[in-house]
Subunit: 411 residues, 2 copies
């Protein structure tokens, strides 16, 4: 894939992702909060009138808020009318795909400056209702009708991976421990305590003492959700929004001396239902989207200094780090266990806590990854900053892998 | 707006729009039917492997079929995986916006050939449930909470127009009569009988004779839905799909000697709620989107030989023909009454029957307009062909005008 002209991020904002603090807000309020922070983040100042088009990733405000036509509503509440406003829906990859759409729209010559964001307000519903709503991203006729929801679908991927490669639940636990550790360093994260801190707190309430994280993670306080996945293998249900401002390379310097360029992008699809896939131990769409993005950027997996990957479940991070080529197939879990994906590892993954600890308001996740790369590549990620970042990668998955989008960022 | 390179339609297909014949089909089956017809329509043959990305306009399969992630599902059922698949939702303008997105994606250089379509399977729900579901395209907190659904919103636009310009319900009736006449000439249309034929049929059942159309339209057999709009002022609830194949101008000739070029495009937003608009007698987003499209195409309203405009309600066609500049403000209804928008008028509008008679599976409507232009500009529209078409225009509205997209087509 090649674009007619280069595109850069010049500003980024996001709300905290959380399940309680946004209780009295609607999507429009969350989105405006993130968009205003994005505008404020532009070094040389930003006038909302510079926005020529808005792209909004959103999974299903239809089901969550009885509100569709989401992009036009956000444009209205941001005072952007009569600018073009487009909603993109590709399940949990909605705003990752929206970032691609925004980049293509700028590259097309149609617009010089666009705003791209994502939002989801999920917590109006109960957890059971959320699980049912998210299941709309799977095949309603073949998977949902058979009783599948997402914990079950990813559990299937996990057991297949265990069977083929001898990987283990302990390796998945290492992903959770690492991502909670990182989330504790990120003021925007949903969970801001390490697994050990949580073990201590929950243990105290019940008069139990845990000597280490694994003892806690093996205990009934971390119940099995869908074997082999336990509670701490699953991301939480969060509300939130994230927004980035994209500009054509030739105008980006008007806004900042340090834009973050989109060097590569890719997007791919795969069979919706797991039973239609040749192999459950890999996401083909990740491999195809990554290949496109690496080729366009002229880099390889080895060149990636930091990555935000889609860890809706811990097994998803293991699959991602393998399918993106960071580690050989079957060795993603081992790499996590060895600390290679930690903040100070040789391949830091999800420094912001990932979906696991940062939270996963599904439509906002892809844009939040772009936000993170904007911060990491400018050295502004604070306590979870990775050292010496030159090239960053984001990887956003829709459902069980029927959509995958990958972006590569550089300075 | 300018694009880095030109884009053309090289193939188009659509299902019939209808409320009964698709009863046992799902969205995926409707979409595949339209896509295969689009592929078959390509003069020099078409291999699905030529499709590099898919864009699907869909309003809310979430609510209609408990199925989101619609684009990936369509890619799967078309055998397009691992090609990129993106769903676009902008209410009833979803696939009109998808056509713009597809065009921008090609213009960006990312893809040479893309498939763009729209689909909606609405008839799983009752008419009451459909009305409630469509209301998600309005502002749930301010309009829907106050009791508004779309007939009421458009009725407000109608009474405002009547009050300001002295336009009348009789003028709206002229729009309905004209569009049913055209629909009767279109084998893809939902309704394929003229108003007079319907009057005769319904009258016979009840032992009533109507001497002319207006006598029928004023009778209790055409009840008031939301004053002043009666049943025949409202489009039906239909199921269906439409698909076009877009190619970069430099590869279009590989597929056909007579591609139809997208010469101009525009997209705009407006305040979601009617109470936030300065004027209810005009859709500002139509004027802005049209201005963009005319400018890009280098044409004016006078140059348009045929137009498909968004007549979800008859008043919407009147507003459109004025806001697009076909007729002076306040004279759109009069023009319809005088036959100027008829097939053989000086400004033919909705030769395919429009949403009014062709039907309105909301997510499919914009793509179906592009389909119609492909046929009209190639002289392949059969019994509803407009003579001597050189320049065509499509106008697709989301909700009560918070999204509008306009395309201009040429040979």
């Amino acid at each position: 894939m090649r674009l007619s002209r280069d595109v850069a991020i010049v500003g980024a904002g996001m709300t905290r992702f959380h399940h309680k603090i946004h209780a009295d807000k609607t999507s429009r309020e969350l989105f405006v909060e993130a968009a205003l922070e994005a505008a404020d983040s532009v070094d040389n100042g930003f006038d909302m009138r510079d926005v020529e088009a808005l792209f909004v990733g959103n999974f299903s405000s239809d089901a969550f808020e009885h509100q569709a036509h989401t992009a036009a509503l956000m444009a209205d509440w941001l005072g952007l009318c009569p600018r073009a406003a487009t909603r993109v829906e590709d399940a949990c990859a909605s705003s990752g795909v929206a970032v691609n759409m925004g980049a293509l729209a700028v590259a097309s010559g149609a617009y010089d400056v666009v705003m791209v964001g994502g939002v989801e307000k999920m917590r109006n519903l109960t957890t059971e209702e959320v699980t049912d709503t998210l299941a709309m991203a799977a095949d309603d006729l073949y998977e949902v009708a058979a009783g599948f929801t997402f914990p079950g679908l990813y559990a299937s991927l996990a057991t297949a991976h265990f069977a083929k490669y001898g990987s283990s639940w302990e390796q998945l636990a290492a992903v959770a421990i690492k991502n909670h550790h990182n989330g504790a360093l990120n003021p925007k994260a949903h969970f801001q305590s390490s697994v050990m801190e949580t073990a201590k707190k929950l243990g105290e309430r019940r008069g139990v003492t845990f000597n280490d994280e694994m003892e806690f993670l093996r205990s009934p306080l971390n119940p099995v959700i869908a074997y082999p996945l336990r509670l701490f293998d699953c991301c939480p249900v969060s509300d939130g929004a994230a927004v980035v401002i994209l500009a054509a390379a030739e105008v980006a310097k008007r806004f900042t001396d340090t834009p973050v360029y989109i060097r590569g992008l890719g997007q791919a699809s795969d069979a919706m239902s797991l039973h239609d896939r040749a192999d459950l131990t890999t996401l083909r769409a990740t491999r195809v989207a990554a290949e496109q993005a690496y080729k366009m950027a002229g880099v390889s997996a080895d060149d990636i200094d930091v990555a935000d990957v889609h860890d809706c479940f811990t097994i998803a991070e293991v699959l991602a780090t393998e399918d993106l080529g960071f580690f050989p197939k079957g060795e993603g879990g081992k790499a996590a266990e060895e600390g290679r994906t930690a903040l100070d590892g040789d391949k830091p993954v999800n420094p912001d806590g990932g979906l696991k600890a940062k939270g996963h308001p599904v439509g906002a996740t892809g844009a939040a990854m772009a936000y993170e790369m904007f911060k990491q590549l400018r050295g502004e990620a604070g306590r979870h900053q990775v050292e010496g970042v030159e090239v960053g990668l984001t990887h956003n998955v829709g459902a069980s892998g029927a959509t995958v989008v990958v972006q590569i960022y550089g300075r």
